[in-house]
């Protein structure tokens, strides 16, 4: 995976060089006529494949608007967000920026993003936006700071052949995952039930288990799902269900997962599943493409997210999109291009080639990719909103940046018996109570 990342960086550098050359030529050609509007667009989740799709859509727009020249800037994936922060701090030369669920609060709080509400209001395609899209456009209560391009929702990947050999049913609930996971675990063969994530961002997996145990009805907002309904800053970490779910989380690690998965993050957990060490994996739709290319057809399948004792399967509605900078000098042009990029046709094309869930409800009509095959699972889940719910960690808090770097270590200490369940839950509870007291209600 890391090797791949380096290859990508190399390829990207080449592409960027080639790209720069091409853009310059176009720019010079246009300059002969009227004034050319230069728009700089910075992407964060860069990959050569994705940049190519964006370039295609940009070329289409430029053909229709000969006086507009859009440059795509692609910093290397590894530390793209840090680079983008520096560019935004400079306060010039960036018109469009890729905004993620993990960066939107930072960019908006610092006043780097323009409110897009007035443009979206006038948009003739706003009627077909999905509920998920509506939900995240107003992620921050004081404005629409970005237009999403897609969602990363989780599903359960599993080895159909292993399950068949053991005579096990396809897992539907977290309990199923645990029971079948234990049955499939055989450490001497390096074979385990579940691709556990204990490394970077492992806390997100613990959170989905908590929410599936508690149910979203007790939670005040799906975007800040650590806080209880009418709780005035009280958190889910004080509930008995959470403690029970935390014990389940530890058991899943101890009895059905590889020991070294305490340090696993995205690359290792996917490698564990694809490489034949683990039987189950919970991940985003981008893993579909990896499984298709590296695994034999018929040995794996994608299932809906597992359901907890609350009768719900709860997972974050991971999102990313495009924002306009507050200091852009060509706001009308930028808005026009953003709406073009996000229209049903272009967004569906983008989502299909980049494995994200599209933002328009008519995507299934535009492309069978979203109604048939592996992706059908997501449509299936969308049809049962009473079972499959969204909830996410309160990323709009300033304290979240600190939380993100400290929390994984705390979970690791708990999983290795260095601290107790009560100590961990108290730490979590104190952290978010303090954040609420200092920053107030932010959703």
């Amino acid at each position: 995976m890391m090797k791949k990342a380096y290859l990508w960086v190399g390829l990207l550098a080449t592409l960027a060089l080639v790209g720069c050359g091409a853009n310059k030529d176009q720019g010079e050609m246009k300059k002969e006529g009227t004034d050319v509007v230069e728009i700089n667009m910075v992407e964060s989740l860069t990959s050569p494949e994705r940049t190519k799709i964006l370039e295609e859509i940009v070329a289409k727009y430029e053909a229709e608007h000969p006086t507009v020249n859009i440059n795509i800037i692609s910093p290397p994936l590894e530390n793209a967000d840090a680079k983008i922060t520096q560019m935004l701090m400079n306060g010039k030369d960036v018109d469009i920026v890729e905004v993620r669920d993990s960066t939107i609060a930072q960019y908006a709080t610092n006043g780097w993003l323009e409110d897009l509400d007035s443009y979206i209001e006038k948009w003739d395609e706003k009627e077909t936006l999905t509920a998920s899209a509506e939900e995240v456009i107003h992620y921050l209560k004081d404005g629409a700071y970005m237009l999403p391009y897609g969602f990363y929702q989780r599903g359960l990947y599993y080895r159909t052949d292993w399950f068949k050999d053991k005579g096990l049913e396809a897992p539907k609930t977290w309990e199923d995952i645990y029971q079948s996971g234990m049955a499939l675990t055989d450490a001497s063969k390096s074979q385990f039930g579940y691709s556990f994530r204990g490394g970077k961002s492992g806390y997100q997996y613990a959170d989905t288990i908590y929410w599936s145990w508690i149910g979203t009805d007790k939670i005040e907002s799906a975007n800040a799902a650590y806080f209880l309904k009418d709780g005035n800053g009280e958190t889910i970490f004080s509930l008995p269900e959470t403690k029970e779910a935390l014990h389940f989380y530890k058991d899943l690690f101890k009895n059905a997962s590889p020991t070294d998965s305490i340090a696993w993050s995205f690359a290792e957990m996917v490698q564990g599943f694809v490489g034949g060490n683990t039987a189950m994996l919970i991940q985003d739709p981008e893993v579909i493409a990896i499984c298709q290319s590296d695994m034999e057809e018929g040995t794996w399948d994608l299932l809906p997210f597992p359901i907890g004792p609350s009768g719900q399967g709860v997972f974050p509605n991971g999102f990313a999109g495009w924002g306009m900078t507050s200091f852009s000098e060509n706001k009308e042009v930028v808005a026009d291009f953003l709406l073009f990029l996000s229209n049903s046709e272009n967004n569906t094309y983008f989502a299909e080639n980049y494995s994200t869930i599209p933002i328009h409800s008519n995507a299934g009509e535009k492309s069978s990719y979203f109604s048939e095959g592996y992706f059908g699972v997501y449509l299936e889940m969308a049809k049962q909103p009473e079972v499959y719910r969204h909830a996410a960690y309160p990323q709009m808090y300033e304290a979240f940046a600190t939380y993100k770097t400290e929390v994984d270590t705390m979970y690791q200490k708990y999983l290795t018996d260095e601290i107790t369940d009560d100590e961990l839950l108290k730490w979590l509870d104190d952290f978010w109570k303090t954040a609420y007291e200092t920053e107030g209600k932010k959703w």
Partner: protein
Amino acid sequence: MVTKGKTISLMDGENKKKAKPSKLRRRRDRFIFFMLLPAILFPLIFTYYPMVKGSMMAFQSYNLMNIKNIKWVGFDNFKALFSTQMGNSFYRILGNTLKWVLISVLSQFVIGFGLALLLKKRFKGLGLYQALIFFPWAVSGFIIGIMWRWMFNGTSGVINDILIRLHLIKEPVGWLADKSTSLYSAIIANIWYGIPFFTIMIVAALRGVSKDLYEAANVDGATSIQKFFYITVPSIKSVLLLTLLLRIIWIFNFPDLIYSMTEGGPADSSNIITSYMMQLVQSLDYGMASAVGVLCILFLAVFSSIYLSLTRYVD
């Protein structure tokens, strides 16, 4: 050499007292000053200004999550680092840093010295052998880290595979996932990486030692151990002391391997002070990161002066 310099400067001083500063002399002084100016200005602007500016952040609440809310907080960041609250691993990180530096440097030094002694004598194929030895030094720390990370991988790593085939272990070990082995795994990778530096430097120094000394020792009937401790080591003492000091500073400031192998985990068991600083930068808390940075500068400054005065290198 040193005494000669001293005499000259003394004489210069005596002359100064006697002669009145002439116009020509003042002009010469001014000329020297302007010639020296770039050498003073460049470090001031490009090294010390950013350093002071960066250090100031250590006393501020400086979080990129909200740059409109930057304020002075005195020693709060340092207090938070040294707090004994549950969940704070800073003392563990300091202990890890000590182990990381001491074990890495000493092992690199001993093995590097040994290899240098082997390379001292010229033999057929020396060039190729030297190139092979020096190779790791030419590769970036991050790439070395990623390479070792997969080698130490608990489920599909080659190290487990070899140890199982040799019947040294029965089940695969999660080297980087176990709190008791993660730091030492990173140290092994670091030792492998750093040996060539000592070898290169010590070989160069060894080749400069006069052969006459060894011949004289042979005439006196000295043993090889005596020759090693009474001729070899004293002759290259200054190189040994300097390379040791340099390596200690470098290894202290070398989070690349830790970061790419374990990211300091699990549970901070392999975190060292500089990889912790990188994590703080990633969390956008530049105030805390800068506080850790200031501590690093202080540690290294104090350590270097003690080291140099103990080894009397300044003499």
